[in-house]
Subunit: 723 residues, 2 copies
């Protein structure tokens, strides 16, 4: 990447050529000491400026009483002082020309009270001074390729995994796992702390541009600006894999996270959906973060989900098959040619259908694996090979003399994988004892796991990313819908009157976006009732209260169904008005709405809302107990692409119902997709919409009927109706 395409200003100080340590110390327990040791022992080649009001020299380096006394500008300042001193120091940093500052101190917004004010002051001082802030309340940062290790973390080596973690202990855990692994190294780490200035999205942009980083990995308790992260992710994932572990998948975890980082948790399910929409690999288990990052860093992606399992027998091939299926991956169907080729080199008792069991063919000749791998990689039906079993342990288990052949085979398999341009993932039962053949594979860039489960999770991640890239690189055919005059008028009026849209208005907004809305009549007096009765003559209708003050119409007794005669209509209207007056005496009752009863079909729910963290989001689910009991819904950030909308329909667990169970006709999915795109356009065009709910929409084989529509207008300081 050339300098001209660099956009992130974070390079200036995350890869700094000079560093000032403000609060440099000779006390070995202090961060101002540890950071200095980290730079000196790590072999940092830039200039180091220890700042200490008392010492003229620290560890052989000239020290300065203040950052104002430096002979030149420092790119990065590490601020080790207590919180109260930070705003003043930042102002001095600005005078020096510092580009970015790492603020370690806690005692800011996360403690509440005066800390909130101090953080605001700190941000203001930084903005004035033109200094960007990492933290405050951060565990620090490192850039190992620049030999910068401000955490003085031991035993970490440079590598290609970039990490941003809202928990310093998580970084520590990953570093200790990497140490045991022996191969895994890191590029840049940042603890975003309170994200006062720089947020996750900014760090992601930096990591995506950083040449040393092949995979960007995030531990997130809560996003501050989720929308910015999504936007950064959409760009970044085209270039390299982005792995996110998001904590707070349960209420208990959210409570714990909030007391840990004061993070706004938000809906976990929604966060996961939106991240995946942007090509992020979301990891659900914390012990899978590093294995998945390792595998994605090495292989980047697999072109699809068709896996060829190559095994030397035993239960592990069975377990691998189970996990592959559970993960939604497929066992590749091998071509006839592939089977013939395998048959030519393997014993007759070998199983040539996937999972392939070499059945002893390799016991005395592990080198055969190279031929098998080559044959499988040449099959167009195979996206990636999963080698499962004892490889690496042949010389241990069978005969020491097999060692050279096994190691040669490792080299050859790696060469073959490279040449064929597809990937291979290895599970070996011998991985725990680290035999040379496995080390050779890993050195050559083939991920080797000691757990079938980690291996399959990685295969899934590779395949998810490859699948994402396929459609991400196709220009989306999206609806381009702007504002409509009719909707604009209705929203202006509602805003002026400080109220939500009435249902007839919500229907009119939909209609103006060419959403086919069922015929309806808004009835405000007896004359209109008579006209409506004639209009609907013979068709059973539903009647609903129209009131700016009544959100939950059924609860208020404001709904009557299956009305046929004019007499029915009259008495229903009286009942409804009486009920609603009883329910809410001060409510403004603005008549009733009449619509034909919906045909039978499948109930779905479509919603859109403006999330405080992620902005406009569209939701889809099947109605009734699916939403209520199973929370079986899909979310996407608006604006939606057609692919997004289609994938929402496919994602819900009850999706098969849309295809028609028990011989029923499938519903018109294209119409639903179109509806989702229009809803997406509406919430995108009108920032005044707080939420929009179509609940339910009844879907049939030839389209849908919106049975109820509600649009809530977000006016921050508005006094709501009496509900």
């Amino acid at each position: 990447m050339t300098d001209s395409t660099r956009r992130s200003p974070l390079h200036d100080f995350l890869a700094p050529d000079s560093i000032a340590i403000i609060g440099a110390s000779t006390d070995p327990t202090k961060r101002g000491y540890k950071a200095l040791v980290g730079l000196l022992e790590g072999g940092y080649e830039g200039r180091i400026y220890p700042i200490n009001p008392k010492a003229p020299e620290i560890m052989g380096l000239a020290a300065y009483p203040s950052i104002l006394a430096l002979p030149a500008a420092a790119d990065l300042a590490l601020i080790c002082t207590p919180a109260a001193a930070v705003p003043g120091i930042l102002r001095d940093c600005g005078k020096n020309g510092v580009r970015g500052a790492v603020i370690l101190a806690s005692g800011f917004a996360e403690v509440g009270g005066s800390g909130v004010q101090l953080e605001a002051e700190t941000l203001a001082a930084a903005r004035d001074a033109g200094v960007r802030i990492i933290g405050p309340n951060t565990s620090g940062m490192f850039n190992l390729h620049k030999h910068i290790n401000l955490l003085a973390l031991q035993d970490v080596k440079p590598g290609d995994i970039g990490i941003v973690s809202q928990s310093g202990n998580m970084l520590l855990s990953l570093a200790l796992q990497a140490q045991r692994n022996g191969f895994i190294g890191f590029s840049t780490y940042v603890g975003p702390g309170n994200q006062t200035d720089i947020g996750f999205g900014d760090y992601l942009r930096y990591l995506s541009e950083d040449e040393k980083t092949r995979v960007a990995t995030f531990y997130v308790e809560g996003f501050r600006d989720g929308r910015a992260f999504l936007e950064a992710a959409r760009e970044a994932t085209r270039v390299k894999p982005v792995v996110v572990y998001k904590s707070g998948s349960t209420e208990a975890g959210q409570k714990s996270a909030s007391s840990h980082t004061g993070a706004l948790a938000g809906s976990y399910a929604m966060t996961v959906d939106l991240l995946r929409q942007c090509g992020v690999n979301v990891v659900a288990q914390s012990d899978e973060i590093l294995p998945v990052a390792e595998g994605l860093g090495l292989l980047q992606q697999a072109p699809g989900k068709r896996i060829a399992i190559l095994s030397d027998g035993g239960g592990q091939a069975t377990i691998a098959s189970d996990r592959i299926s559970e993960a939604g991956l497929k066992l590749a169907e091998l071509s006839t040619l592939t089977r013939e080729r395998l048959a030519n080199i393997l014993f007759s008792q070998a199983s040539l259908s996937n999972p392939i069991d070499v059945a002893g063919s390799t016991d005395a000749n592990p080198g055969l694996f190279t031929d098998c791998v080559d044959i499988l990689l040449r099959d167009e039906q195979v996206d990636i090979v999963f080698l499962v079993g004892m490889f690496g342990g042949y010389s241990i288990r069978f005969d020491q003399s097999l060692q050279p052949a096994e190691e040669h085979c490792a080299t050859e398999m790696a060469r073959c994988v490279r040449e064929r341009g597809k990937g291979m993932v290895v599970y070996s039962l011998y991985a725990p004892v680290r035999p040379q053949a496995l080390m050779t594979l890993r050195e050559a860039g083939i991920p080797v796991y000691d757990s079938i489960e980690y291996a399959v999770t990685t295969l899934r991640a590779l395949s998810d990313r490859g699948t994402y890239l396929k459609h991400a690189n196709v220009p989306p055919q999206n609806l381009e819908l702007g504002v409509t005059d009719e909707a604009t008028v209705l929203f202006e009026r509602a805003l002026a009157e400080q109220r939500d849209l009435l249902e007839p208005e919500a229907r009119a907004v939909l209609a103006s976006y060419e959403v086919p809305v069922p015929d309806s009549r808004w009835v405000r007096n007896d004359t209109e009732l008579g006209q409506a009765a004639r209009h609907f003559a013979g068709t059973p209708v539903a009647m609903k209260i129209v009131s700016r003050d009544i959100l939950h119409k059924s609860d208020a007794g404001g709904v009557r169904l299956n009305l046929a005669s004019e007499q029915d209509l009259h008495s229903a209207r009286e009942t409804i008005l009486r009920n609603c007056r009883g329910y809410s005496p001060d409510a403004a009752l603005e008549g009733v709405l009449l619509t034909p009863m919906a045909r039978k079909g499948i109930e779905v729910i479509i919603g859109a809302s403006r999330d405080p963290v992620f902005g406009p989001v569209v939701m889809f689910g099947l109605g009734g107990i699916f939403v209520e009991l199973f929370k079986d819904v899909a979310f996407r950030a608006a604006p939606l692409s057609r692919h997004d909308a289609e994938s929402m329909l496919a994602q819900v667990k009850a999706a098969r119902i849309l295809d028609g169970l028990r011989g029923e006709a499938p519903v018109n999915k294209a119409a639903l997709v179109d509806l989702l795109l229009r809803i997406s356009a509406i919430i995108t065009q009108y920032p005044e919409i707080e939420s929009l709910d179509l609940n339910p929409v009844i879907v049939h084989s030839d389209g849908y009927e919106v049975v109820d529509a509600r649009i809530i207008v977000g006016t921050d300081d508005q006094t709501r109706g009496n509900e």
Copy 2:
């Protein structure tokens, strides 16, 4: 355990005092060589008899030309010869007085054809000779406390985990993981091979009696006699934990398992339910087998699911909280006294609600953890403590001088756990680097994990087992129902006529078991139709064909609903008979059945069937798409205890529907439980029942209505109707 309570005959040869190696060899690649080396190097103290027709001496031991030439009886014979020789050798073994034989050779039933016959001959020879068989096609066995290692597996140490694995590679994998762990050892291993004679249930009985085994662990591709295993498990789990990993959770896995061991897979979901019913800890991920076995071996159980998380901050407490909730465990609510006690010793910023965050209190004083653990264990609301974070790494991360304090703390925590009689599980981020403090904990019997996920899976297993033991030790209050005269007559008649029960008969069987069956009339002619019309006057009824030859009444057009007038009844009957004649011209039509239309309510399905592996099994699920789409059903082996039946209702994911959603009244669960118990009694009493289906049963707040009942009679060689 004294000899008088020993029941398993397997002790005689799984803990043998003398071993004959039939096919002892001087060729280092042969099993007959490796086993001998294994015994000699392992320090086996019993007598070893190498059998080899040519060598008078092998490895310094007197060799014998045949087992008939031995000076005394051998308890165990390891048979290393090819398959064809086995029956003859077994006959000789019998003459010698051998109690059990390990048959390594493959080429038996698993290869089909003549192998099947050879296996039958082998079994017959063994029975004649009074010799029990391990295998054939087994990987072998070891008993490390007796210094017997017939697999010559390196680097395994004696310990308390017993293993039976249908995959030798799985044993190998567990052994390699144990080697890395450093603490884990094994008692007895057996590869059951083809299970020709001795099956999983027999091995379980042996392991449950074996004093050296604290946890019995199984890798199962397929049970041959699942019922025997359930019975053995019911006994064994009262004494010690039983861990089962069952492969074949997916179709792909089942296919692979079947080609690997020829195992009958059966339904995975059913197998899991039945195993859990008997107190077995089923592990779903293969990489969790050893961690769970380790934790269960050490701690045996936790009295409940209330976990206290003790952490030193960081994201790990949040992750642990998420996993705890997802696993169905609870964060314990700490008592006021506990919080006060913690407040007395921790910094003011510590979080005293669960998860407890010591917030730096231990940074300079890790010894404080002992006091915290003690306080938590004394809280009656806490079932087990989960220590999460950096413990073990304080001296590495903060200050080397903390090392003695940290190690002392480990000793003290272990003492405290022992004294308080509750358990503790540890996750440390430093576990990968094995610091001494963690080694001390582990040595003292506290499980230490390097993955939060493994730790929580273990906590779940401990809690599941403790919860199981609570009710397993309460004498069940079960229904004791024998056969009924009415049912006996009906089954005899159906058997005699080689047919299934007609629906009126199925209803009569239910009625004879005091199942309230809706009023019904079996109508075979016009007179009966008139009587029925008068009987049901005014009540809308359903009409269904009665035919021994028509199983699927709706498909045949054999059902009409909501019939009111006599005229309706007449024409419905004509239509039904005409439809059925068209559908199945040769079917015997035996009239129609009339019953009142069922009230509205919640549809459930209750079934019972005779599984080829597990025997009589009862199934419960919610009707419609829950069964169809989500396979959301619960299984239990019959006969059911009341607890079993209750737990079925609680298990299904849609269980909350039974409690009444949206303000509906909860259904009468007691009536459903009673129905399940009666169905269990029926299938238990009548072995001629192949399956029994009540589909649907409509449940309401005051009971249920069986809408359709079907009983299929299993007569092996019966020709079925033309469906």
